[in-house]
Structure formats: C-alpha cells, structure tokens
Amino acid sequence: MVPLAYYLILSSALLGLGFYGLIAKTSAIRMLFALEILTIAANLNLVAFSAYMSPSNVSGQVLVLFSIALGAAEASVGLAIIILMYRLNKTVDVSQLRRLKG
C-alpha cells in the first residue's frame, strides 16, 4: 500500500500550485480555478488522513461530503460575482478593479 506521506506530498504540491495561481493570475476565472485546486488539496488531505489514521471512523468522509457541498455553493456565488463584474466593467481582470482605492 502507498504510504500516507505520498498522498500528503501530492496534496501539498496541489496546495502550492493553488497558491501560485491565486497570487500570479489576474483573471478572476483563473483565480476561481486556483481556489478549486486548493479545495481539492484540502479534501484529499482529509480523506487520506481519515483512511490511514482512523480506518474505522466514518467522520472524515462525512466532513469531506460537507466540504464538497460547500465548495459547490462557493463556486456558484463566485461565478455570479464574476458575471456581475463582467457586466459592470466589461473585464474580469482583477488588477483593473481599483475603483475603491483611495
């Protein structure tokens, strides 16, 4: 069986990738993709720990189910905000949204 550390290393690689996307990208859609990748990393971590550390306990998987449902809600609200941003500004470039800057 694959050691737990491999899953954790894959998860941390995805987390680093998500951070990179969140910092470096200016398109709001790509930032949403980066957020989804971060969520994937967190869910993978949770399932791996629940499968290896407490195999007889179902709580970890239940928590991941909650996390997936919340992720769907987050994606829908985020996409609504992106569409609104596009309708108001005709762009999804977040570096141009500086109307509130003093």
Partner: protein, 163 residues
C-alpha cells in the same frame, strides 16, 4: 514488486498535478476548464483508491458534473483579455516551490510516526448516511440553509436592475 494500487496511485497523481497545472497555465480558458474537469475526475479516482467510494461518487456527480458545467458556461460567456502580471509571477512561483519543498521536508521528517493499516476499510452508503443523519443532523440542516442562502444570493446578484 510493485502493486497495482501503487501504479494507479502514481498515474492518478501525475494526471492530477499536470491537469491542475494546465488549468492554470493553458492559453484558452475553455481548455483550462476542461483540464480542471480532468483534475476533479482524477481526484475522484484517488478517493476511490483510499476506499472512500461514496465521496468519490459525490465528487464526480457534484464537482465534475454540476460545478464544471457551470464554470464552463461562464467561461464561454466571458471574453478573455486579462493580462499577465509578469513581475509577481516569478516571485509567486518561487514562493510556492519553496512552500512545497518545506512541507514535503516536514512530511518526510514526521513520516515515521505514521503507519500504514493492513487494509483500508470501506463504508457502505447506509453507514455513511446513518452517520450523516444521526451524528451530524444539525450540521446537515445548517448546510441546507447555507445552500439556500447561496442560491438566493446568486439570484440576487445576477438579477438585472430595472431602471
């Protein structure tokens, strides 16, 4: 002697990482969205390897199905044209690679504390559903409220204002 699960883990890990990278770096946003769908699907495969079949099904149905259709349609609606932030990009790359190296190092250090169980236990849908309703019933109700609020918020945000 390499077991079949090891091979499938490495294949799925490589597919997950490369498709996640493609989702961030592809020129065409639609291709990026499709790559993100592949990431979701291969993560479902990893969940299946870990014995969480119902979670894998949930991931396929909700993430790869519903959320990806939503993301794909919004991606098609929106004209692209965000410029790349060149200066911060290198620093972000360096920072995330440094983050990965440090976390991988820490994981390898504490690796000896963890042991692999002899076999993974899989839970039936009945057990999972019973736990969901009996132990986490209140959280489930709150989740329902959150989903209703998200739907209402989305509709309110998108609604065209009448002049």
């Amino acid at each position: 002697m390499i077991a079949l699960t090891d091979i499938s883990f490495f294949l799925l890990a490589i597919v997950t990482f490369i498709s996640a990278l493609t989702a961030l770096e592809a020129k065409e946003p639609v291709y990026a969205a499709m790559a993100l769908a592949i990431t979701f699907a291969s993560t479902a495969g990893l969940f299946m390897l870990l014995g969480a079949f119902y979670v894998a099904f949930f991931q396929l149905a909700i993430r790869t199905g519903a959320v990806m259709v939503l993301i794909l349609f919004v991606t098609m609606l929106i004209k692209r044209g965000a410029r790349e932030a060149v200066g911060i990009r290198v620093w972000a790359m360096i920072a995330s690679i440094a983050f990965f190296i440090v976390t991988a190092w820490i994981i390898m250090i504490v690796n000896s504390l963890w042991f692999s169980p002899q076999s993974l236990s899989t839970f039936s849908v009945t057990e999972l559903g019973a736990s969901l309703l009996v132990s986490y019933g209140a959280a489930l109700a709150i989740l329902a409220i959150v989903l209703i609020m998200a739907t209402t918020g989305t509709l309110t945000l998108i609604k065209e204002e009448k002049e």
